[in-house]
């Protein structure tokens, strides 16, 4: 017998969904931390120093 609660107390996320989430995170990380375009660099400058990304 499956109750609704039992079915969803341990929910699996698809591997594709996990990969998509990780990829989205990596893209944002590149923008916030690594892209050298000067507009991005200037805006993110203080953040990069505080988070200790290699900045200059």
């Amino acid at each position: 017998m499956k109750t609704k609660t039992l079915a969803l107390t341990h929910v699996d996320t698809s591997f594709a969904g996990i990969a998509l989430t990780a990829l989205a995170g990596l893209m944002l990380l590149l923008i916030a931390g690594f892209a050298q375009a000067s507009v991005l660099h200037d805006g993110a400058h203080d953040t990069r120093h505080a988070i200790a990304f290699p900045c200059h």
Partner: protein, 248 residues
């Protein structure tokens, strides 16, 4: 066990799409909240030191050791202007939230992956995930490349970025092997943690410091402390958002 496999193993089922959306929104909420925590701590503890460092970077102040003509001691004390230039600080807060949202999505992908392999997530284990994220993304890279005041002179930025990324990846793998591996795998994980530091970060063969070492040291330790607090918040919040409302 049927409960685990029945509703969600078919790809593109409604439950699967729902879980992917839930994973993404949980990461977004946790990342924005932790980014706000990081921004507030940063304005309190880090930005004043950063602005003071810029006085030395721009030459408004000169460290006594850097010039024969400078006074015998360097002046200490905060720069003026913490409340000026609000657009700059607004950008900083915004990018803090972008960075922590990036961290959150990567961290939650790891949490969801661990759940797929039978390691249920709780808010308490989320705190440990947060500590491990801090070690991976901040502490381990900082061992080779300490957080730098503006104006610090260092090796080529591309080389440092490559070492930083490689260190983060290898450290994540190492911590994963220690946490979830069996047999000899945790030992291999320990070796992985040491590997980037055996290789060594790119460094110059001379020192160029233009700011007083006390200021640079305080900046580095506060950067690490703020990141530790923000990451623990991120781990707990990420686990909270990802595990709540699962009955619905």
């Amino acid at each position: 066990m049927t409960a685990r496999t029945t509703p969600v193993t078919q790809s593109h089922s409604p439950a699967t799409r729902h879980m992917t959306r839930h994973l993404l929104t949980s990461g977004l909420f946790a990342g924005l909240a932790a980014g706000l925590v990081a921004a507030l701590l940063q304005f309190w503890l880090i930005t004043p030191l950063l602005l003071e460092g810029e006085l030395y970077e721009s030459g408004i102040r000169t460290h006594f050791a850097a010039s024969l003509n400078a006074p015998v001691q360097s002046p200490a004390g905060p720069a003026e202007g913490l409340t000026q230039n609000l657009s700059r600080h607004a950008m900083t807060a915004g990018f803090d939230m972008v960075a922590y949202t990036a961290f959150a999505l990567i961290l939650l992908a790891g949490m969801a992956l661990a759940e797929r392999f039978g390691h249920p997530l709780t808010v308490r284990s989320g705190l440990i995930w947060g500590i491990c994220g801090f070690i991976t993304m901040h502490l381990a890279p900082a061992i080779g490349l300490p957080p730098e005041l503006p104006g610090s002179v260092a090796a080529e930025v591309e080389l440092r970025q490559a070492w930083w990324l490689g260190t983060a990846v290898v450290t994540a793998i190492g911590l994963g092997l220690i946490a979830f591996g069996s047999g000899a795998l945790p030992l291999i994980g320990v070796a992985a943690l040491a590997l980037p530091h055996i290789i060594g970060a790119p460094h110059l063969d001379t020192y160029f410091g233009i700011a007083p070492p006390e200021l640079a040291a305080e900046f580095a330790s506060r950067s690490i402390g703020v990141a530790a607090a923000s990451w623990v918040a991120l781990g707990g919040l990420g686990a909270y958002f990802f595990t709540r409302n699962r009955e619905s």
